[in-house]
Amino acid sequence: RFSQNFREVAGRFLVSEASTHLLVFGMEQRLPPNSELVQAVLRLFQEPLPRAALRRHERPTPRSARARVTIEWLRVRDDGSNRTALIDSRLVSIHESGWKAFDVTEAVNFWQQLSRPRQPLLLQVSVQREHLGPGASGAHRLVRFGAQGARGEPQLELHTLDLKDYGAQGNCDPEAPVTEGTRCCRQETYLDLQGMTWAENWVLEPPGFLTYECVGSCLQPPEALTFKWPFLGPRQCIASETASLPMIVRMKEGGRTRAQVVSLPNMRVQKCSCASDGALVPRGLEP
């Protein structure tokens, strides 16, 4: 999960009898402006097993029987086709009842990347058998979740931080010295390449360039929140957006030299932000 290095692998349906529910959440005005989404939790209420259904089931269901619940983000594209992205998946005991929590932060991140007017947040909940294969039981069909609009309806919790308090400020004030109390900001400096021996006779452009550094500190969430989000490290002032730096250098080819353009990635800081290690690295939305 949460890795940009792995892409879902398309596969064929071998067994296609998962019971699937589609949840629809209107999201407009839900996320406060200028806020950072730290976590989104979907809570589903698993209904107690009806005794009668258990008796009707073709064979006894062991206490240890489980079902796999999978949450996918569903996106309806302009051409009417659907795309899904796996968000969370875990096993639940068939015999247990009560609220089950699923981390759907990435689904809300995807939704935030949609162009306006945005469709509601569509979450597809599938309940599948724990194991595949001839001997697998169909007990997963006994798992029921409270539907929307009924008692125990699904809940979507959005946990955000107000960037007015926990965010960075744009560029540093050039007049004010950076101290411990300075809030995370982008500080401008100038890198003079002409003074560098290695650049002599080699770098033709630029003679130097404005470079930026992220300095200052970030407000840390209160202990109650860090306890709630144990997976988050301290908030740090980091370069959240960078840009490349083009240069013109001299290249030797045979007995002659020629000018060549080269672009150095991630060389210029465009934006500084307060961010935590462990926070979700948003996956880009496919076009």
Partner: protein
């Protein structure tokens, strides 16, 4: 950002182990062709914000 970091990135992009040894006179006489300068200016103007993955 330090000069060394710029040098490291430049060597990496050009797949060089060290800066080339070039004589100064040739550098003085080398004019940058218009198409190379145009490419440089275009890159400068369109350098896009890349999302960094944090620390």
């Amino acid at each position: 950002l330090s000069g060394e970091q710029v040098l490291d990135s430049l060597l990496k992009q050009l797949q060089l182990d060290q800066p080339p040894v070039l004589d100064g006179d040739a550098a003085e006489g080398l004019a940058i062709p218009a198409h190379v300068r145009a490419q440089y200016v275009a890159l400068l103007q369109h350098s896009h914000a890349d999302h960094s993955r944090g620390k």
